[in-house]
């Protein structure tokens, strides 16, 4: 396992860059654990200082050292994005495989529920949760709620793959061998849908983090929790862009872009490692 990793690093530029980017962001967010600064405290430094040797990322108009503040913001945002992705993957795998493999009434009921979740307007519901929970709305609860809305499309996708797998030879063998449906789904079919799961996970993270930013910018999240969204909320609240405190907006945006670029490169190179065909494909045509 380690040697695979070493080889990938050594020989695959994309993997190496991806590891460096994601690693750097993760390390950056982990720095929050040794931060000398309380992220909720304001006016602890001179406000509006541009990036410099003393303040690497500058300071914002609330008198916070942006470097340390963003370590917390990224920790929370990454945790949030990963939680939503993970939870919604679990739901979509379970629903998708069950609906696809079991079929019949199970399929019909699950897809009916699925359609309802697709049809329900997410935004008012999320805002409502905010109004009800207010400052009890921490990142995990928000992730839990969003996970409830992040699964239906992908469950449909997984279902369509599972439908195809159902008629494949190996499924019949497994049935004859007396494997239980649950075992078939999770031992035989799951590996086939994993590429979809990984591919949709990233899209899901972009979606959930984007929605968090939207809610935060409108003031519908707990704005005392430092996240990328609340960082932008406060920047907006202090007219950062028109005033010229550009680093307050540019730095978190650049970091988030780098995060996803890194994740994308990792996903692409891992995919190539798992499936060398795609490599050949890219050299071909």
């Amino acid at each position: 396992m380690f040697s695979v990793f070493r080889d990938l690093i050594r020989y695959n530029m994309e993997f190496a860059v991806g590891v460096v980017l994601v690693g750097a962001i993760v390390l950056f967010s982990l720095l929050s654990f040794i931060s000398p600064v309380d992220p909720t405290a304001i006016y602890t430094t001179i406000p509006d200082m541009p990036p410099s040797a003393e303040y690497w990322f500058g300071t914002n108009s609330r008198g916070q050292d942006l470097f340390w503040h963003l370590t917390f913001a990224f920790r929370n945002t990454l945790f949030f994005g990963l939680s939503v992705a993970l939870l919604s993957r679990v739901i979509s795998i379970a629903v998708g495989l069950a609906a696809g493999y079991l079929g019949g009434w199970t399929d019909r009921v699950l897809m009916f529920v699925n359609d309802i979740f697709v049809a329900l307007p997410t935004f008012p519901i999320l805002v409502l949760f905010y109004f009800v929970l207010r400052s009890d709305l921490d990142m995990f609860k928000l992730a839990l709620i969003m996970a409830c809305f992040g699964w239906p499309y992908d469950a449909r996708l997984i279902r369509s793959v599972a439908l195809g797998l159902k008629h494949r030879e190996f499924t019949r063998h497994a049935v004859f061998a007396g494997m239980s449906p649950v075992k078939i789904m999770f031992e035989e079919h799951l590996p086939y849908v994993m590429p979809i799961v990984f591919a949709t996970a990233m899209a899901n993270m972009i979606w959930s983090i984007g929605l968090e930013v939207t809610l935060a910018v409108l003031g519908f999240t707990n704005i005392n929790i430092p996240t990328v969204g609340t960082a932008l909320y406060w920047a907006n609240n202090h007219s950062a862009m028109v005033v010229g405190v550009w680093w307050w907006i540019v730095i978190p945006v650049v970091l988030i872009v780098l995060t996803f670029l890194g994740l994308f490169l990792l996903a692409v190179s891992m995919n190539e490692y798992i499936d060398p065909r795609s490599r050949l494909r890219r050299m071909g045509a």
Binding site: I116, T122, L218
Partner: protein, 334 residues
């Protein structure tokens, strides 16, 4: 034929069930809000002038009765269902007694117009570029575009929209940054009005296209780069079938099945508006209405917008299900 009819009927029943459940869920969600429309109005009214506590209390009672909020929730629910069946979603509580649907109707054309156009534009451009990038995988230009698309995708939409305002409204003020049309034209079928609408739509639409493009592009590229390795494409190439024919009838045609499905879903999804677009560009539409209604506890308008959205998405799902067998001959009608 008749199997298709039975299939369509089944699907339609499911559509009705989804609409009913979705709308009911929306009703309870809208009414669970802790925000009281009565208090919103009292706050607004009594903040204006020196109001005595007694006066406020009597106003509160009047409004509560007027809005029908003095009956239990389940009764309100049945009243709502009864009215919903005849297409009446009741009066808005923020603009009492104006029907909530009238407010929705005012905002809807803007949202639908802007979003339909930008969604279709995004879809077309994203799919064409993505298809080309999937087919001509060694094109430098398309590769570069792919990297840009990956980079742009995670930028929060708010930032993109806001940057458009800053760039084209502030640094280089050439385009209108707010409103749906200029103040010196009047709604009519005149070229001035249409031109003004288009001019005011450029920035909001452009911001939507920029953020949406990458998703379609990457999706289509992945689809196409899978399809070009399919045997039927290789075979057609070996047979010397014309390249344009291969691209259009073999590659694109096969990629269209999922992409058209996704387009239908996106179009179904536009009926809840784009809150940030409307906020940033002061653009009229459902998003602003929804945010204001949520903020003011106007459950009738929240419900009206939600119902429109639920019906739109359910319709999109229904259409997809109905059209799918036609798009993809392999899908058998159950």
């Amino acid at each position: 034929m008749s199997t298709y009819l039975v299939f369509a009927l089944k699907r339609f029943l499911q559509f009705l069930a989804v609409v009913f459940t979705g709308v009911s869920a929306s009703f309870f969600i809208a009414h669970l809000s802790p925000i009281s429309p009565v208090e919103t109005i009292i706050g607004r009214v009594s903040g204006q002038s020196a109001f005595s506590p007694e006066a406020v209390e009597s106003l509160r009672q009047t409004l509560t009765e007027l809005f029908g909020l003095n009956v239990p929730l389940h009764e309100q629910y049945f009243n709502f269902l009864r009215r919903f069946l005849v297409g009446d979603l009741g009066p808005s509580l923020l603009a009492f007694p104006t029907p909530a649907m009238k407010l929705v109707g005012l905002a809807l054309p803007w949202t639908v117009g802007l979003l339909t156009l930008s969604t279709i534009l995004t879809w077309l451009v994203g799919n064409i570029l993505g298809g080309l990038a999937g087919y001509y995988q060694n094109s430098r230009l398309l590769k570069a575009f792919g990297i840009v698309a990956i980079g742009v995708q995670p930028i929060p939409y708010y930032i993109v929209a806001f940057l458009m305002v800053i760039i084209f409204g502030f640094l280089w003020p050439v385009l209108p940054v707010s409103g749906g049309f200029a103040m010196n034209v009047r709604p009519s079928w005149s070229p001035e009005f249409v031109g003004s609408i288009l001019l005011h739509g450029i920035l909001p639409a452009a911001s939507l296209v920029i953020v949406g493009l990458g998703t379609w592009f990457l999706g289509m590229r992945a689809l196409v780069s899978n399809i070009v390795t399919e045997d039927y494409v290789t075979y057609a190439e070996l047979a010397g079938v014309r390249r344009e024919r291969i691209v259009s009838s073999y590659v694109i045609r096969n990629a269209m099945v999922p992409q058209l499905t996704a387009l239908a879903m996106s179009l179904g999804g536009i009926f809840s508006g784009t809150i940030i677009t409307e906020q940033v560009f002061s653009y009229p539409g459902l998003g602003t209405l929804l945010v204001r209604a949520v903020n003011a506890g106007d459950s009738a308008v929240v419900l009206a917008v939600s119902c429109v959205a639920v019906i739109a998405v359910a319709t999109a799902i229904l259409l997809i299900d109905l059209i799918h067998p036609l798009l993809d001959p392999r899908i058998r009608v159950e």
